[in-house]
């Protein structure tokens, strides 16, 4: 276990969307702040810092995690995936992203990255999730614009068409 002094700045290295990156952080630096401002990947958003709204959800070693409730030092050496990893390099949207567009599943887009990451994790383990299961996962996220119906429809479009 690495010991870090309270006021010490330390080098934190991790793999972000397949690329090895490192930057300085304090022990108290939140992972969401680290990803956004130290590593410059601003697709992850911060809505509450209390672990309730879900906008900051990222994958750590494939598991959906609230990056506002995780310290940067905890992600040392881990595989972090954020919304920037979903589309193809040329910008082509993946099936989940395209389904969100087809079903008007976003308006302001601020909560969307967190929701996409939760379902990226969940559908990888349960590709044919039922509507009840979809709603259950989605209940971990707050969206103020859409009223959720489009989001449920989008994920259902993916679960129906996935092989």
């Amino acid at each position: 276990m690495r010991r870090v002094n309270r006021n010490e700045r330390v080098r934190v290295g991790l793999t972000l969307n397949g690329r090895k990156l490192a930057a300085d952080a304090e022990p108290r630096t939140l992972l969401c702040d680290f990803i956004r401002h130290a590593l410059g990947a601003t697709g992850t958003h911060v809505g509450c810092e209390h672990g309730v709204c879900g906008a900051c959800t990222v994958l750590i070693d494939g598991v959906a995690t609230r990056s506002c409730l995780t310290l940067a030092v905890q992600a040392e050496g881990r595989e972090v995936k954020t919304v920037e990893s979903l589309a193809a390099p040329d910008g082509t949207l993946n099936a989940l992203q395209q389904a969100f567009r087809n079903n008007h599943a976003l308006q302001c887009g601020f909560c969307t990255p967190g929701i996409l990451m939760s379902f990226t994790d969940y559908l990888s383990r349960n590709p044919h999730a039922s509507e009840t299961e979809i709603r259950d996962v989605l209940s971990g996220h707050l969206c103020r614009c859409t009223g959720y119906a489009g989001i449920v429809a989008a994920v259902k479009e993916v679960t129906k068409s996935s092989p």
Binding site: G47, V52, A55, Q107, R144, G147
Partner: protein, 842 residues
């Protein structure tokens, strides 16, 4: 090229937002050396500031400044307000704090973490004062005064009379009255406030980025506070903003605060609001207590309406308040044909956060009272609630309909819309479900609500607040300017800019559809740039995104600019095609002769002519392709000398109908079925329209069942996190069957009406009526939480049956058995002693 308008075109905004390439305020690069601010907030609801000791905080290395009310008072002027009172508000508390969470000081340091550390070392001594939270109590002379120099907390009272209400009430068979409170809540956007400010000392000018939403009538308010002329406050709006729902108007005091911080430190300063700050002090809608009474015949026909609306705006009346009272003023009779009206509008201040813009903007408060009373009329007269509604609806042949208070309803067929919505077995099904449930002793109820949804505010509506004599002196105020600009570059690429800010409403897509429709292109060929910059863009006091003004305003300006551009291109092409302009059409990316389509030129070639070869332009045609449309509709007149005001340009209609069942064990209200009929005139993009309606519906459900800002008796705020303030998740939002009826607006060339606030207005009333039906209860206080439903079931309110003959004739309605004051809502979580709900600061 198939029609672009009216189609569910997929959004141009989505690819970037779906792949993490959104450009929200906190994502944008900031200047090297930018400092970070942390706001210290009052833990007391009402207290004098005795002393602020910043020595320890300033001793913390890399802290650049601690700014207090005294600094702000020296460097800036109090904010202008709509009501002329001696109440003064700066961007920090001066001498006294008046609500928990009120900004008291700002620490500026090299990082937000360090600024928060330093804040822990700031010691502020307060002398607590008595607190008043309830609007009715605050009006009493015995109540603690928030602003001694104002002499009262009730800082504005205005009375209006239209038609002959006294005669109506004297002659009516019955008078029925109710007291209907509406809660204090906020549609908190998931992205909080962000401000980045720079100060140019040489010119004493400011350059500020902020996710402000408008209206830009606030720009002069900010510039005046900063003591600079408008052009020296450059305000930039980021391309993306994470929702607003009216709340991001109230960022304006922080724009001034962070601008002053930049001036004081000589460095750019950035401030990002966190969730606790947002919940405790950003903004909220005003809560209201309405005393409403009708003069009604035995047949349920309403002859006269009286409203006493007491609205609680918290500790300060910020511009443009008391908007919610006056935006709905013209539509105070809703969808009903009532010409005898008496209205009393009262503004009161209490020890709560200042209230301001919020989606629905006065509609939810008005229609909860009006629609609950219409339901009540049916109960008392033993009529069918839907019949009472139908009997009073404005008949189709009376449109455009001038209401008693002066609104000019543009178009509608209210009865027809109700027929369609209740038809196809929908109402019959609801009644069947109710019968089946009641047969098993279950609590099932049906509710209705009709609302008229105003869109695009007349910027003069707030002056109705002034007396006619005062208006005469000050000069008339009216109108609402919409602006859009279209330019075509040398290779024929089309760009649109317009006077709206973006918070997720899909303006980019719909503007592209409007322009593509006229130029014979496809929406994805149109570039739309909406990052409003007051130094470079055209804007007016009406610019911004509020009052659902897009469809009735900016969309029209864009259409007009596109039509002007189309006609210019026709003239240019006609010469080259050797035909008359009337024979030219723009279609499928070509500009061609209508009678001989083979005689055609690519769009880009014709557009290029005016750049590369102005010599080929027809006589008198100006070079360059830039069309700006500036539009203000004539219907938006100033308030008349007898206080009639057409507050908005277009008026949509909504009929909602729902069935609810109340669980006798958990007391939870389950929405069994919900139908919502909308008449918003012409729909420009059905997919986007449905998204706006579903979003407003979810917020209507939130107000009806879940969300409320609660305070304990000491004024401590009890909803500091999303665990205490119940924003509904997917589990709490029932399905809604959305139906459409189309009465195009005759007042705009597009015929489209703003439709984004309707269900915020109709859904709370419809749910409340259904609960009243399910429980046979009268005083439905929202949000109808399980705790409140339990109290209703306990109270077991009995209806005095009309035959009971308790001196009913002519007397006030029975049912006045409740005191005027709504019981303060019991706190959802155990009350906090002493400290405010936010982290102890001082």
């Amino acid at each position: 090229m198939p029609d672009q308008l009216g189609k569910p075109v997929l959004r141009k905004e989505d690819p970037a937002l779906l792949s993490g390439r959104g450009r929200y305020a906190d994502d944008l690069p900031i200047a090297v050396g930018t400092l970070h601010a942390h706001v210290i907030r009052s833990p007391h609801a009402h207290a004098d500031i005795l002393r602020i000791d910043a020595e320890q905080a300033l001793a913390h290395d890399s802290v650049w400044a601690v700014i207090t009310g005294e600094d702000v008072r020296k460097l800036s002027d109090p904010f202008l307000a709509a009501v002329k009172t001696p109440v003064q508000q700066w961007t920090l508390a001066v001498e006294r704090v008046r609500y928990v969470g009120e900004p008291v000081a700002v620490v500026v340091a090299e990082s937000r973490y360090i600024a928060e550390d330093a804040a822990e070392r700031l010691s502020i001594d307060y002398q607590p004062r008595d607190v008043v939270l309830d609007p009715v109590q605050a009006c009493k002379s015995s109540a603690p005064l928030l602003h001694p120099q104002a002499g009262t907390n009730e800082i504005s009272v205005r009375e209006f009379r239209y038609g002959d209400p006294d005669a109506a009430f004297a002659s009516a068979d019955r008078r029925i009255a109710m007291t209907v409170p509406f809660p204090r809540l906020s549609f908190t956007p998931i992205e909080c406030y962000v401000v980045v400010a720079q100060h140019n000392a040489a010119e004493n000018s400011y350059d500020v980025l902020a996710n402000f939403q408008g209206p830009f009538s606030m720009h002069p308010v900010m510039a005046r506070a900063l003591r600079v002329p408008g052009p020296k406050l450059r305000l930039r709006i980021p391309p993306d903003s994470g929702g607003s729902f009216g709340i991001k108007l109230s960022i304006f005091p922080y724009i001034v605060l962070i601008a002053l911080a930049a001036r004081i430190t000589g460095r750019p300063v950035k401030w990002t609001e966190d969730r606790i700050e947002h919940l405790v002090a950003a903004s909220s809608g005003p809560n209201r207590v309405t005393e409403i009474e009708v003069a009604v015949g035995h047949d349920g026909r309403v002859l006269g309406l009286k409203l006493d609306q007491l609205e609680d705006y918290g500790a300060f009346l910020r511009a443009p308040m008391p908007g919610p009272l006056y935006r709905m003023h013209g539509a105070v009779t809703g969808a009903y044909d009532i010409q005898n009206v008496e209205v009393k509008n009262r503004v009161v201040l209490t020890n709560k956060m200042p209230a301001s813009l919020i989606r629905g903007f006065g509609g939810p408060q008005l229609y909860l009272a009006l629609e609950r009373l219409m339901h009540r009329i049916a109960i008392e007269l033993q009529l069918d609630p839907l019949e009472v509604i139908r009997r009073n609806l404005i008949p189709a042949q009376k449109f455009p309909y001038r209401t008693a208070a002066g609104a000019l309803y543009d178009s509608g067929d209210y009865g027809r819309a109700v027929d369609i919505a209740t038809g196809d077995g929908r109402l019959a099904d609801l009644k069947k479900r109710r019968e089946a449930a009641r047969a098993q002793g279950r609590h099932y109820g049906i509710g209705f609500a009709v609302v008229v949804e105003p869109a695009m505010s007349n910027m003069g509506y707030l002056s109705t607040l002034m007396t006619p004599q005062a208006r005469e002196k000050a000069g008339p105020k009216n109108g609402a300017v919409s602006m859009a600009r279209l330019t075509i570059d040398p290779l024929g690429a089309v760009t649109v800019t317009a006077d709206v800010t973006v918070q997720g409403q899909s303006h980019e897509t719909v503007l592209a559809q409007i322009v593509a429709q006229e130029l014979g292109l496809s929406a994805d060929e149109i570039e739309v740039v909406l990052e409003l910059d007051t130094a470079k863009d055209q804007w007016s006091i009406a610019a911004g995104t509020y009052s659902s003004r897009f469809a009735s305003g900016t969309a029209v300006a864009a259409h007009m600019a596109a039509v002007a551009m189309r006609d210019k291109l026709k003239a240019i092409a006609a010469k080259q095609l050797n035909v008359l302009p009337d024979d030219v059409e723009l279609a499928s990316g070509k500009i061609r002769s209508r009678s001989n389509p083979d005689n055609a030129l690519p769009f880009g070639r014709v557009a290029g002519t005016s750049h590369w070869s102005p010599v080929m332009l027809p006589e008198g045609t100006a070079p360059a392709l830039s069309e700006t449309a500036v539009w203000t509709p004539p219907e938006l007149e100033p308030p008349s000398s007898d206080d009639r005001i057409n507050t908005s340009l277009t008026y949509g209609f909504i009929f909602d109908m729902c069935g609810v069942e109340i669980d006798p064990v958990t007391y939870h209200v389950r929405v069994d079925r919900y139908v919502s009929m909308h008449d918003a005139g012409r729909i420009m993009n059905p997919m986007i329209a449905e998204g706006q309606i579903r979003g407003a519906f979810a917020q209507g459900i939130a107000a009806a069942l879940y969300e409320e800002f609660t305070y304990n008796e000491e004024g401590a705020f009890l909803n500091g996190t999303f665990a205490d303030y119940l924003v509904p998740t997917v589990g709490e939002i029932p399905d809604v069957e959305i139906l459409h009826h189309h009465s195009p607006s005759p007042f705009t060339p597009l015929g489209a009406k703003g439709l984004a606030e309707g269900n915020c207005m109709s859904t709370p009333a419809c749910i409340a009526n259904a609960i009243a039906d399910a429980l046979g209860a009268q005083d439905i206080i929202l949000p109808a939480t399980p705790r409140r439903i339990h109290e209703l079931l306990q109270a077991n309110q009995k209806f005095p049956s009309p035959l009971a003959g308790e001196g009913r004739e002519g007397g006030g309605a029975v049912g006045q058995n409740h005191s005027r004051t709504p019981k303060p809502p019991p706190p959802l979580s155990p009350p906090h002693k002493g400290e405010g709900n936010s982290k102890p600061r001082a």
